[in-house]
């Protein structure tokens, strides 16, 4: 189970890095989404993976039964999903605004903050 998930995480990371290296912001965004999911799966794999015993403490028990799934990574992932989703929503809006305002989604052409022919400071006066 861990091996399959590890391979899946690797594939996700590869796809994410490939997409993030693109010049186009939309592709970069897709890469970031995949990266976020890869990390979530990674945290999931870092916990204890079982299919049989849910992490529930019954009425007569004081601790988790042995071999139960690990609830902590799931709590971590829940937090990470919320965060990465809200960031994705923000970035999506920002990219759309950038496309509207700057007329391009190619990061090589976005040179407003750092103009290409920025003047050098004066050498003397």
């Amino acid at each position: 189970m861990e091996t399959i998930l590890a391979l899946l995480v690797g594939a996700f990371f590869a796809a994410a890095v490939y997409l993030i290296l693109s010049r186009h912001t939309v592709r970069m965004l897709l890469g970031i989404v995949i990266l976020g999911n890869a990390v979530n799966l990674l945290i999931f794999t870092a916990g204890r993976l079982t299919r049989e015993v849910p992490p529930i403490i019954g009425a007569s028990m004081t601790t988790l039964p042995s071999g139960a799934a690990n609830p902590l990574p799931q709590a971590l992932i829940l937090t990470a999903i919320v965060i990465s989703f809200s960031f994705f929503a923000f970035l999506l809006v920002l990219t759309y605004r950038a496309f509207q305002e700057l007329g391009t989604d190619d990061t090589d052409e976005m040179r407003l903050a750092e103009p290409k022919n920025d003047p050098l400071p004066p050498g003397g006066y």
């Binding site: 945290i43 870092a46 601790t63 923000f90 605004r97 700057l102 990061t107 903050a113 003047p119 050098l120």
Partner: protein, 564 residues
């Protein structure tokens, strides 16, 4: 994989119902206070005249709480508060040691300064889009990051400050800002995602996320991929701190928003990265830091030199300030690379100096651009004549940033150079000195062109406009024929820089207390810090000792001895 816990747990400890003492609440109060203030400000989002009345007292309160926390930590050592009685290592614990308390206090100081400056600098539209709520939430994130004792919680606070910084960065929606924000947002998001990857692996290796618990176990564990982990942490935090070669988002974005926002970012955000790097690499993984020290040292040297050269190559003074932030990061990294108590003291002292000095530098440059009429070195000039007092204060700040006596930049730099010579890293000491030299040249050139040189003729020059009384606060300037400024051009620049666009040209040069007080107060603090460095020095030294030997920190989290 995390081992199943077959050890019997003593549950009685978790059911202690004794109320926390009032002093313990100080640990959680700074972020809680800021979140509440942010929430209140959100509810009155459209009544912008109320914002200042709520935000400034909240920031004053934050500073007081930070100060009380600092006093408590100095007097009694690290303080821990556990949330909801989920005892460590399971629950989220807020643990503050001297290091965190010092950083928190410095952050509170610049937040108050920036908040007061914003009363004038942020116009109605900036407020309506929520400058003050974002400022509160940013401070919640920053204080939370400095105070938390749980590494996943650190990630969450990173995200809190990151999303508020996005909000602040796009405030106003200029085209330039959107360009800068896009690069800032994507690269910083990748940086925090790298951090999250490292946290995931950390949990896989240790099965715990509590920093004190990890600090205990990392010294014992053998054969775990801890080098990979620490390398990931170094990459992630170096990216947050804008160290070379992952620094390029900073000069691309920090000069685009309103100058108060730049000042906040320059003072706070990169230092949170340095804080996290020191916390993780020095306290949690000391052995791995030793292995990586050459790498961190080379990064530090390259950051120092390349950022200083970057300062020399800029015409826009706000971008000069951006590279000055990165030079400071190089100095702090050098201290981490050295890793001795002396080196870490230097790094920490430099971080405190840098939080104050970088905020002040951006505020000074914003004011300078408003007075001289341009952010460009080629076009600006004449500040010395128009505002001699301000020019004098700026010079003091420039000396502090360059690390020249008698101001605050000197002492950490001496410590860093001496610490690197002590371990035989002469090249690191040389890089620190060389970059200090280049910084001095760059800032001296700013002073030469923007301050000393007579005002340049701008196409909008209207000499007659200056005869109105009250056009300037400095009466001396009225009698100088060369000082005849270009009020309209200045008003234009001012509105770009964040002044009120509707302001009359004559009002462009009038400085209000909201603009000048925080700036002069910060410079005064820097000067006092430089003249009497004993107190910050001794505090930083005990903080650095606490990082190298976290016994007191661990003791504070596990009063009954380490968890099984």
């Amino acid at each position: 994989m995390a081992a199943p816990s077959s050890i019997p747990v003593d549950l009685s400890a978790a059911f202690v119902m004794a109320p926390s003492t009032l002093g313990d609440w100080l640990v959680i109060l700074p972020p809680a206070l800021m979140i509440c203030a942010g929430a209140v400000l959100m509810t009155v989002r459209h009544r912008i005249h109320l914002h200042g009345w709520i935000a400034i007292p909240a920031l004053v309160l934050l500073l007081l709480v930070d100060f009380a926390l600092l006093v408590k930590v100095v007097a009694g050592g690290p303080v821990t508060m556990t949330m909801g009685r989920w005892l460590p290592p399971f629950g989220i614990a807020f643990t503050v040691d001297l290091f965190g308390a010092l950083m928190c206090f410095a952050a509170g100081l610049v937040a108050l300064a920036a908040g007061i400056g914003a009363l004038k600098d942020i116009n109605a539209s900036g407020r309506r889009y929520g400058f003050f709520p974002f400022l509160m939430l940013l401070m919640a994130g920053v204080s939370g990051a400095f105070l938390t004792g749980d590494i996943f919680n650190l990630y969450v606070w990173f995200e809190v400050l990151l999303i508020s910084s996005f909000g602040l960065l796009v405030l106003g929606s200029e085209r330039e800002q959107i360009d800068g924000a896009l690069k800032y947002a994507i690269l910083n998001l990748i940086g925090t995602t790298l951090f999250l990857i490292a946290v995931g692996y950390l949990y896989g290796v240790f099965g715990t996320l509590n920093m004190a618990d990890i600090a205990l176990r990392a010294r014992e564990i053998e054969g775990a991929p801890l080098m990979t982990l620490s390398a990931l942490f170094v990459l992630a935090f170096a990216m947050k701190a804008a160290s070379f070669p992952v620094n390029f988002w900073l000069p691309a974005s920090y000069h685009t928003p309103r100058i108060t926002v730049s000042a906040l970012f320059g003072g706070l955000l990169t230092k949170v990265g340095i804080y996290a790097l020191m916390r993780v690499m020095v306290m949690l993984f000391p052995l791995q830091r030793e292995e990586l020290s050459l790498l961190i040292g080379v990064l530090a040297a390259l950051t120092l030199i390349i950022a200083a050269l970057g300062m020399l190559a800029q015409d826009d003074i706000r971008r000069v300030a951006g590279y000055a932030v990165i030079v400071g990061i190089g100095n702090m990294l050098a201290g981490i690379a050295v890793g001795t108590v002396a080196g870490l003291t230097g790094a920490l002292l430099y971080a405190l100096h840098s939080i104050l000095a970088m905020t002040a530098l951006y505020l000074v440059f914003g004011r300078a651009a408003a007075i001289s009429g341009s952010v460009s070195l080629t076009k600006g000039g004449g500040i010395y004549r128009l505002a001699p007092g301000f020019a004098f204060a700026s010079l003091a700040l420039f000396l502090a940033v360059s690390g020249l006596p008698p101001f605050s930049g000197l002492w950490p730099k001496i410590m860093l150079v001496k610490a690197s010579l002590d371990i035989g890293a002469w090249w690191l000491a040389a890089a620190i000195l060389l970059s200090g030299f280049l910084t001095t040249i760059a800032l001296a050139r700013v002073f030469l062109f923007a301050y000393w040189r007579p005002a340049q003729a701008l196409p909008l020059a209207q000499p007659g406009a200056m005869t109105q009384p009250g056009a300037m606060t400095q009466p001396a300037a009225m009698t100088q024929p060369e000082a005849v400024a270009q009020p309209e051009a200045r008003a234009q620049v001012r509105s770009q820089l964040g002044g009120d666009a509707a302001a009359a040209p004559a009002a462009a040069l009038r400085s209000t207390p909201a603009e000048t007080w925080p700036l002069f107060a910060l410079i005064a603090i820097i000067t006092v810090f430089g003249l009497f460095p004993e107190l910050p020095l001794s505090l930083s030294q005990s903080a650095a000792e606490g990082l190298v030997n976290p016994a007191a920190y661990i003791q504070s989290v596990f009063p009954q001895g380490p968890a099984p």
